[in-house]
Symmetry: C2
Subunit: 198 residues, 2 copies
């Protein structure tokens, strides 16, 4: 029905996470009806990103400059390093603006099922960064999944040889979490890591 | 946090219908991680559409050719013309592949609230198409909303002067509709338009 160009665009959009064929079609309709205000800006923005996209040689972040904006930011504390699985995790942590240091992206998690081995992750690069000195604390911020925690333990073992403090994110009740609705794993973690009331 | 280029792309994507800031961020992450398989094809598809996009001078359809693929399709019956409000409605009707004729897009609906007057819609162009001859039936396929039906009545009045059959889509129970869950307006329409059992 629609022309091949429009069909191709619909298919390209429908492959984005969160968009299916139906919403992609709605998005395309919006784009072709609002050519000046929607299609052209998106095309320009996409072109600009495609042109400048690069992976940071230091931390593995994907940004439009190499080294990335975080690694070159002088206001960030170079003494603490937060290790995450993916770029998405870096974005999530950075949105909270609570971590003032720099990041290191492993590029995934150890997984026997998916065939991801330690040499597939940028663990060696992490160790080289630590060896280079200047880092005092390594915060392990892997996902609280089985594979994330396996990775966390593995990285912790490799990092512990160096004279740096190794910490990990606390596990327990999420803010607003009601005991009745939480899974037993979370409750067990929260109970195990209980703290004295100040 | 993210570079200005990535931020601009996120904002451009988040303005698409069905995407908010959160899902736009996920989409951008997907795009920058899958550069070859997601970003480049989308960029190319978007560029191709932006380059060829045009409004059909005959029916008002937005397509990558002018006249559009529907108006130039020789297999379509030029004798029946379906009048719709928007391009989205044409796409919806055409997806069902039930209407073998051509289309005419009004470009909106009459609306006192939004200040849309008859001269803002392509009603004159519709009348000129009918005057030119060859059309035997005009199907009014406006939305079953108050404004859609107002528009339908208005167009019907203008078209009735010509020697063509003017019809409109049937109103009644949707397929799978349960009486208990349907609004009274639909029930009233279905009852008013009741037909003898064959």
């Amino acid at each position: 029905m629609a022309s091949p160009e429009i069909e191709t665009l619909t298919q390209a959009l429908s492959r984005l996470p969160g968009l299916g064929p139906r919403s992609a079609r709605r998005a395309v309709l919006h784009l072709i009806k609002k050519r000046e205000t929607a299609l052209e800006p998106l095309l320009k923005a996409l072109g600009a990103v495609a042109e400048t996209l690069s992976t940071c040689a230091i931390c593995g972040n994907i940004d439009t400059s190499d080294p990335c904006a975080i690694c070159t930011d002088p206001r960030r504390d170079a003494r603490s390093l937060c290790v995450v699985e993916e770029v998405a995790d870096l974005w999530a942590l950075d949105r909270s603006r609570l971590f003032p240091g720099r990041f290191h992206i492993l590029g995934g998690r150890l997984s026997a099922l998916d065939g991801v081995r330690p040499e597939d992750l940028s663990i060696d690069a992490l160790l080289r960064r630590i060896e280079a000195g200047g880092i005092e604390e390594v915060v392990l911020a892997m996902n609280a999944t089985l594979e994330g925690q396996t990775t966390s333990h593995f990285v912790a073992e490799r990092v512990e040889r160096y004279p740096v403090r190794v910490t990990q994110l606390a596990h327990g009740l999420p803010v607003g979490g009601e005991l009745d609705y939480l899974d037993e794993g979370t409750l067990a973690q929260a109970l195990r890591a209980r703290r004295p009331v100040a």
